[in-house]
Subunit: 240 residues, 2 copies
DNA sequence: ACAAAAGTGTTGCTGGTACACCCATGT
DNA sequence: ACATGGGTGTACCAGCAACACTTTTGT
């Protein structure tokens, strides 16, 4: 009995040939936050079975491309961004998930801030859609989106990735709004501030908001160096 | 410009053919707990490049098989178990990860208890190895094992999956030992008891340990129904 | 003046941690 | 009798939740 994970290289190659018939793709679930709303970047599908429905940004994996590299490429090609948060979430491999054949896809979660880096409008079929407004999507993409949303909710409480959604300098109010938006809860302002300050991850930028029609708030930035230090010694979570 | 995730079915099939050349596999990281040690079920590789090294239990995905179904099949075929905890963890898709060609693999985490269900010894190359004794493995399997261990550490604090490692009836001592073993910490016995009891997830079975050479402890079981109820309303975590 | 949000402290409660003694069983 | 772990309660401390008023800016 052959006990290896794969048949030996020495065994008849014909035996293995039928296995090398899968296609693999990556799909990027790109979240952005704008004016109080959590958005996801979508494109209208022009696949005949799903024409006009919303679809995630993805592409087929190339024969000599690492999986992670492919997701990075998709993000770069579609948005022009090159230095964003990007992390693998889950792989979807149902037999019938794609009409074109056996395509297995790996979903990636990405967080970008739309202000600092303006999107290249290479492709005007691209659109930011509020995650709350999305009911149906092409393929199994709604399921993929939901999986990524669940992971997002978990991860913002485990690691300080939420800052990727904001500009480098942000007000505490905005930070709180993003948390509230994603988690679907609301927090007491004073307690939220205390909690965030005691993490030691925020740096007062000595600047104020501009052009707001109320008392301007201080601007802060995320101190990544401090985070890297603290994390070595202890868990740094923001459990709500 | 073609904006769909995949080329249309109508476009030249020749265009897509080069993409359907990947193989896909699943690898199961099967953890078991026995006499104070966290083990993982491994097999000696007989792939020429890695002969004699330890390898995870895996197999190639079949053309008409769902991804999850494949992991389930591997577990069933190798261990004879059919009703175990099994969950997808991560997909590894480096170009050169497998000598036989472009094989992408999805890792699954599985927890089994060795006592309740005796392993079929179909295959005597199978062996339980202490996770602490494993340094190198075939392919990229050490990396996969490490990823699954990290996920295991996280998940036992988020969901009551740890009970899958124990027999149906277990002593609090054993439960605590499994936690300590996996997390690499030790806890105060009284505080551990209080914490577990206040979850409301343990049922006193009215039975005692047998054949222990000290005062026998009470046996408890995990109350899944209670968990399902509680979980609907609130988060049920066991943060340590 | 009004509207909108910024900024700020205290109190009570809850949950975690630290800690020591007697009990039941096998040898 | 001894060794091994089972079983139990309390006191302290830290972190969380609840809560209201004054300040700054734009209109």
């Amino acid at each position: 009995m052959n006990t290896s994970v794969l048949p030996n290289i020495n065994t008849d190659l014909v035996e293995m040939a039928p296995h090398f018939q899968f296609a693999h793709s990556v799909d990027c679930v790109i979240f952005g936050y704008d004016k109080g709303v959590l958005n996801v970047l979508l494109i209208e599908s022009d696949h005949p079975d799903y024409r006009g429905q919303w679809s995630l940004l993805g592409d087929l994996l190339r024969p000599n491309e690492d999986l992670d590299a492919a997701s990075y490429r998709v993000l770069r090609e579609r948005t022009g961004l090159t230095d964003m948060f990007l992390e693998q979430v889950k792989t979807f491999g149902e037999v019938d998930r794609h009409p074109a054949g056996r395509v297995i896809t790996t979903a990636y979660l990405s967080l970008v801030n739309v202000r600092d880096h303006q999107l290249k409008s290479i492709d005007n079929a691209l659109q930011w859609r509020s995650v709350n407004d999305i009911d149906t999507m092409a393929f199994d993409h709604k399921m993929i989106l939901d999986a990524c949303l669940a992971v997002l909710k978990r991860k913002i409480q485990e690691e300080p990735i939420i800052f990727n959604l904001l500009e480098k300098k942000f007000s505490l109010r905005n930070l709180q709004l993003v948390f509230e938006q994603i988690l679907g809860m609301s927090f007491d302002r004073r307690n939220f501030r205390k909690k965030l300050f005691t993490t030691g991850l925020l740096v007062d930028q000595g600047e104020m908001e501009r052009n707001v029609k109320h008392r301007p708030g201080k601007l802060y930035s995320f101190n990544r160096e401090a985070y890297d230090q603290i994390k070595k010694k202890s868990f740094v979570g923001l459990q709500f």
